[in-house]
Symmetry: C2
Subunit: 343 residues, 2 copies
């Protein structure tokens, strides 16, 4: 895995576009925002494939469109797919790259905070199928991932916060000093100060990639990354992926799971309140009613991370430390949902 | 890679069908021939997916049919795809297995000689796309490959010889003693004697898998397996994959490439005649005219194995030994085509 934080992405990409043996995949929004730079980079207009923005584009039909483009341009085994976009574009382009001619080079240029600090790291490619998220996919690593924080300047507030949730998560699961840095620099983060953005993105990439490196195929240690995700996924799914962005659901998920850890006595009051305060500064809490909670628990029971139908939770057990638990009683889970936002 | 030669495939497969967490993929022909055994094995009728026989079934539409079956049966990450068939079924099922939930278990049960000694070994999965053979695919290894020579008894003569070509190839590229064994037991082979079939299949698997083991992603040593294939592929392609089976084209390819080796002085007359005689006992030679030869050379120039547009040939250089050459003159190639079958 090779990651580079660069100052001018367009200069960096030139090395891949000198030979006419590449295609660039991006979405309409990014093309509209960076049209002049992209056109200058590509020289040839038909090397670009534009995908409609939105999660619903992450499907096999678009994979086939990529294959057709690769065939049209006669891209060979030494060719490149340049993937410029958020998680959807990265997952889709990565899947096509991993299956065309049994795998060609691809270069990731993540443009959202969530993609820069999370989805671009870890070699997971995927498309949705038959109503299931990421049902079809491969493990496949890009030749390099190039990160330019300029793209974060044009992100919407919701997209930005969605990514911030994962950034905060890294502090909680692996690095308390980093957690404190985020807490102390929250204003600078929201003001998108260059040096601060560079630091939090770089640090997040460092933490996630060191965890992935130890467990490329997601068999054990990598599970630590799921803090907030058991509850987070159930919230996304319960609201049909419409009400919350992934990162927002994960922030709520972390709040609930943090409360579970506190109720189980895994962490003390002071640390609990410290994390809780930071998470609540990112998002409006939501008051779940009993019916909703029952529905959420039902969804969690079907989570693919479970073993023997017991719900798997990754919970904080100390500063910068988490562990996996399979024996949390339903009552505790309910209590956490009902009280996570209260005093 | 794990290969087992077994005496009763139906007994061996039971361990995979005890839990209702598998599907079996096969083609109509095999199902018709082994219906009773298969029905007894499966218990549940809807765990089977039948594919229409023939290379044209190796496409994305059938991959989608497999996905649908996996979703319908709710196969999870511990589930199995049992792939019972020749190369087409193996390539197709393997591709689906490698991409469903980022890879689930699959078990290969090759039923043709070509699949048992060649296509089931090496972790290459593929489907054809846009008129190109194997354009879409992955490297993915089955949990095990189980071989039962009973399936060879119902093979057509052409299918059997097609596989024999690759068996002979292993002797030529890696093991002269094995080559002699084949030569001396040709009658027993054609009579499909159990002990002889078991020996040649086992030995072929051993040779190919030891080569693949050293070069899983087909970067160097594995190229040795391409003896006969530069010319063989061009013949298949020139006749639109209709006139010759893959293995038959490879036998003709070996004859032509053998002649190139002889013309270049890489091997002596005695060894040349020894190989030539065995290959000519397998197939009727074909007299290529000058126009055909020009067409074949044009196809070879586009082979994906070439470097800098120079045609790559793997040629015998001694008993059980081959090497790769990029500098064979067109005149020598033509001469070989014109004279390979003559005195």
């Amino acid at each position: 895995m090779r990651f580079r934080l660069v100052d001018n992405i367009w200069d960096e990409l030139k090395r891949y576009t000198v030979d006419d043996n590449y295609i660039l995949i991006t979405d309409d929004n990014i093309y509209r925002l960076y049209k002049d730079d992209i056109d200058r980079l590509l020289c040839v207009r038909n090397n670009i494939l534009l995908i409609k923005p939105g999660e619903e584009s992450k499907n096999l039909e678009n994979v086939v469109k990529i294959y057709d483009k690769l065939v049209e341009k006669n891209i060979d085994r030494n060719g490149f797919i340049l993937s410029l976009g958020g998680g959807m574009i990265g997952d889709l382009a990565g899947f096509a790259a991993s299956t065309y001619k049994r795998g060609i080079n691809y270069v990731q240029i993540p443009t959202t905070l969530l993609a820069q600090v999370d989805s671009s790291i870890g070699g997971k490619t995927a498309v949705n199928y038959g109503g299931y998220k990421n049902l079809i996919g491969t493990f496949y690593f890009p030749v390099e991932t190039i990160i330019d924080i300029r793209f974060l300047k044009t992100l919407s507030k919701r997209d930005f916060i969605s990514g911030l949730g994962e950034v905060v998560k890294y502090g909680i699961i692996a690095d308390y000093e980093f957690f404190k840095y985020i807490k102390e620099n929250l204003n600078g983060i929201f003001d998108k100060e260059d040096n601060i953005l560079r630091y939090i993105v770089g640090k997040s990439v460092e933490i996630k990639s060191s965890i992935v490196e130890k467990d490329k195929f997601d068999l054990n240690i990598r599970h630590n990354l799921n803090f907030g995700h058991t509850v987070g996924h159930s919230i996304e799914s319960h609201f049909n992926y419409e009400m919350y962005y992934h990162g927002e659901a994960v922030i709520l998920g972390m709040l609930v799971e943090l409360k579970i850890a506190y109720l189980k006595g895994l962490i003390g009051n002071e640390y609990f309140e410290e994390i809780r305060a930071l998470l609540l500064s990112l998002i409006e809490s939501y008051k779940f009613n009993e019916d909703e909670i029952d529905g959420l628990i039902k969804i969690m029971k079907n989570d693919k991370k479970n073993i023997d139908r017991k719900i798997a939770f990754v919970l904080p057990v100390g500063k910068g430390k988490v562990d996996t638990f399979f024996d949390i009683e339903e009552k505790t889970i309910k209590d956490a949902f009902l009280t996570y936002y209260r005093e």
